[in-house]
């Protein structure tokens, strides 16, 4: 069965909150006196607790409660945040995350190690609480003293219990929430002294929608909780439900107000209140009588009935100001709600579907434009041009919807840097640049792991221990920089450290040992550095628990390859290493350059096309079968027809009547020529991924459907060049 929508919401929300808890804690390290952050921290953890309680995840609730209590003391200024406490909170956050995942997976239970860790964390947190218990009870006592005189006031109802009136919205059940879970959670923060289930709203059996909720509840709750805590219980449904919460010892008018505001007959609610002992019969009758008198006096005036607030004022109990204040307050809360709703959550599936459709729209519009051009109708061409302009805009906007700032992924590394450097006894600063650079959510999700690996690698192997650094005359504090920039249709992410750099000798000896190279190979520095991406390659002398198991760099490269990206490494011995990852911005639609080779069409990503020139074998530009002279530069080229064994072309390859053109492509600074027959021009290309069967296919990144229904292959320039090179080596 699919995950319950309520649970799904919980999953997303808790992940988000746990993420912000981490951010806040790390930020608090930098500015420990920022009270806003402390409040935010407390709220985030509190919300997780509340939501977990709703779903009956007791393990999460009990642990989170402990953490929340300590955070509460922090908020109240009773304890100060220090290094130990931050670490403890961070570990607790991780544990909560584990518990939440466990609960979402149907609570199979944590493993022994995590369980033991949880117990220890719970105890550690408890140490920050122990000496507080007594204080707390003292505070309680004083609070009671203050409130006692109020109870004596005859206008206040001497009830120690909270009174909660609930009327659930009709859609609650449909939304996957069951009122019982709210009540059960309520039981965890207090004792339900009495509860009355109201089903007055239940329509006639024939008119009833069995999936709607018609129930209401009147509850008396004995609890030490604060009003916000009780409100928090209903956080998930507060928008659809009518909820009234009256604190203990409320003024009688508050009860009358409640009675009036509820949809049921006044007497019915009144009865419930007297039955459960909240009001005495006399109190109720008096209050209702006042209101009735008012009503009778006003009977002459049509439709003029005193709103309850005014009755209260005339009795001289509450001043107008107070009523106004209460109203203002209500308004403020609604305004605040609206502000919070600046972004909406949309399921990734819906978005993908839309982008898919936009893709089809792009194809259809290209088709229309081509047809219009063929028909040579002036007006038609004009309108289709306007249309395709709009379609282009829609395409860009649609793709933009999936664009996410990379900053959140980057800031995740703050924690990693903090912890790893602590473990290793190093002192490392993380500098983030370009966190607002946007790229496709799918790409971001997939790049997170490889990035993590590279970061850990730099921390572990790149940056030296403080003593070593001092000996070399570098500052003891190492620096790791994460940077992201846009560069012609790609995003370039660089991870650079000011550490030791790659050791050429070590790499070479390791590569020889593994048989990756032969002793007589003469490799450039760049080629040597690239060897670290070969499978099973690790130059670390010691395998630590952070990295160095030799299963990494090749996986990093494979992951990046899968995203049609490229990873490069640049290293200066003694001064540091820089990894740069180049990724396409999106995986769905590209601007392509449509070409024809024999009978087949190919699309080359337009970002990579530098220029097109005519291929002339007889001129002096011709050097060798694989190179031409491009304005004094050597340009290697590949014949697409030969490479893909296009029978049509291969058989005619000697036939020089076939006109040939060279498309000069530029990828990451390297130029390569592709020989094709016909240049058909710019084309908006919707990438349709090839099936699993063609996963291993090199040189082709996908296919697209042309306006006339024909299929064109999309050239993956980078891997195509690799393929051409290997083919070349095989020939020679």
């Amino acid at each position: 069965m699919d995950m319950d929508p309520g649970l799904q919401a919980f999953k997303e929300e808790s992940h988000e909150l746990l993420g912000s808890v981490e951010d806040i804690l790390l930020q608090l390290e930098a500015e420990p006196d920022n009270n806003d952050l402390v409040n935010e921290l407390f709220r985030a953890v509190h919300t997780i607790k509340g939501a977990s309680g709703l779903f009956g995840f007791d393990d999460v609730v009990s642990f989170t409660h402990q953490a929340e209590s300590v955070m509460g003391r922090l908020r109240d200024g009773e304890i100060k945040l220090n290094d130990t406490l931050t670490t403890l909170f961070l570990d607790s956050r991780d544990h909560i995350s584990l518990l939440v995942d466990d609960a979402l997976n149907g609570s199979p239970g944590l493993n022994e190690e995590s369980k033991a860790k949880g117990v220890k964390l719970h105890d550690d947190l408890g140490q920050f609480l122990n000496n507080q218990e007594e204080e707390e009870s003292q505070i309680d006592a004083t609070e009671m003293d203050i409130s006692n005189p109020i109870v004596d006031d005859s206008k206040h109802i001497a009830s120690d219990n909270w009174h909660i009136s609930l009327r659930f919205g009709q859609d609650v059940l449909r939304m996957g929430m069951d009122p019982q879970s709210f009540l059960r959670y309520l039981q965890t923060i207090g004792d339900i002294v009495s509860l009355t289930t109201l089903y007055d709203d239940l329509p006639d059996a024939h008119d009833m929608d069995p999936e709607s909720c018609y129930l209401g509840f009147e509850i008396d709750l004995k609890s030490e909780a604060r009003k916000e805590d009780i409100e928090g219980v209903f956080e998930f449904v507060q928008e659809d439900c009518v909820i009234h919460i009256l604190p203990p010892n409320s003024h009688i008018d508050r009860y009358i107000e409640l009675i009036k505001s509820l949809p049921e007959e006044d007497l019915r609610i009144g009865d419930i209140l007297t039955m459960t002992g909240v009001l005495t019969k006399r109190e109720l009758e008096e209050a209702l009588a006042v209101q009735n008198e008012e009503r009778q006096q006003d009977d002459g005036h049509i439709g003029k009935e005193h709103p309850l607030g005014e009755v209260v004022v005339e009795q001289g109990v509450v001043e107008t100001k107070v009523v106004q204040a209460a109203l203002d307050k209500q308004q403020q809360t609604t305004v605040k709600k609206a502000e919070e709703k600046q972004s909406i959550r949309v399921s990734a599936e819906k978005l993908s579907e839309m982008i898919n459709l936009v893709g089809e729209l792009v194809i259809a519009s290209a088709n229309t434009e081509a047809t219009a051009r063929q028909a040579e109708g002036g007006d038609l061409i004009e309108t289709t041009a306007a249309l395709s302009h709009l379609v282009e805009e829609i395409r860009d906007t649609a793709l933009n919807l999936r664009m996410v700032e990379i900053g959140t992924t980057f800031s995740r590394f703050r924690r990693v840097v903090r912890e790893v450097s602590r473990n290793l006894g190093k002192d490392i600063d993380l500098i983030i640049n370009g966190g607002d650079t946007e790229l496709d959510k799918i790409v971001i999700d997939k790049i997170a792991d490889p990035l993590m690996h590279l970061v850990r690698n730099s921390l572990d192997h790149g940056i030296e221990m403080p003593e070593q650094r001092r000996e070399k005359g570098k500052p003891a504090k190492g620096t790791l920089k994460l940077n992201a920039v846009h560069d012609s249709g790609s995003i370039v992410i660089t991870i650079s450290d000011d550490g030791n750099g790659l050791s050429k000798e070590k790499i070479l000896s390791k590569a020889l040992e593994r048989g990756l190279i032969k002793p007589d190979h003469n490799l450039s520095d760049k080629e040597i550095n690239k060897l670290i991406f070969e499978p099973g390659f690790s130059t670390a002398d010691a395998v630590t628990d952070i990295s160095g198991r030799g299963v990494g760099m090749d996986v990093v490269r494979r992951n990046i390859d899968a995203l049609r990206g490229q990873v490069d490494v640049d290293s200066t011995p003694g001064a540091g290493t820089t990894f740069s990852i180049r990724l396409p911005l999106t995986l769905a639609i590209i601007d392509g350059f449509l070409t024809r080779v024999g009978q087949n069409s190919y699309v080359i990503p337009l970002d990579m096309v530098d220029e097109c020139i005519e291929y002339q074998t007889d001129s002096d530009t011709y050097i060798d079968s694989n190179f031409i002279n491009l304005r004094g530069e050597v340009l290697p080229y590949v014949r697409l027809g030969e490479l893909f064994n296009d029978a049509d072309i291969v058989s005619h390859s000697d036939n020089k009547l076939n006109k040939e053109n060279i498309i000069v492509t530029n990828y990451a600074g390297k130029k390569t020529g592709l020989i094709v027959n016909e240049l058909l021009g710019e084309y908006q290309t919707v990438i349709k991924p090839l099936g699993d069967v063609f996963k291993g296919l090199k040189g082709i990144s996908g296919a697209t459907i042309l306006g006339n229904g024909e299929v064109a292959m999309i050239i993956d320039v980078q891997s195509l060049i690799q393929v051409a090179q290997t083919a070349d080596v095989a020939v020679h």
């Binding site: 019982q180 059960r184 909720c213």
Partner: protein, 113 residues
């Protein structure tokens, strides 16, 4: 889910003996509601055998409340028997145990019978 009328139901007295098999939850609420409609129309009081009900949620409770309401209109009663722990638990929570009384605890509150 299956709701069957048992022998011993009597249209004249208006007493209906029902047996519910399966769960009474939001997932089959529409179906259950459909099957209950006929009995709500034809009878006044209800005795429901809950032995085979494993799970019940608020949507299920609402259906039973329909029976209860009809019974109350006719000054009759509704009795549940053979409730398992889960069912009793929810009845307890909603404080409905006194009139949706499991016969196991006997001593049903009978209203106007």
């Amino acid at each position: 889910m299956n709701i069957t009328k048992l022998k011993g139901s009597n249209k004249r007295s208006g007493r209906c003996l029902l047996k519910i098999d399966g769960d009474l939850t939001i997932y089959n609420a529409a179906e259950s509601h459909e099957s209950l409609l006929a009995f709500v129309d034809d009878f006044k009081g209800f005795e429901v055998d809950m032995t085979s009900v494993n799970e019940i949620d608020t949507a299920g409770i609402q259906l039973l409340l329909q029976l209860k309401r009809k019974a109350a209109q006719e000054e009759q009663s509704i009795q549940l028997s053979g409730c398992n722990e889960q069912v009793c638990d929810l009845l307890d929570l909603y404080q409905l145990q006194d009139w949706l009384a499991p016969t196991a605890t006997s001593n049903n509150t009978t209203e106007g019978v």
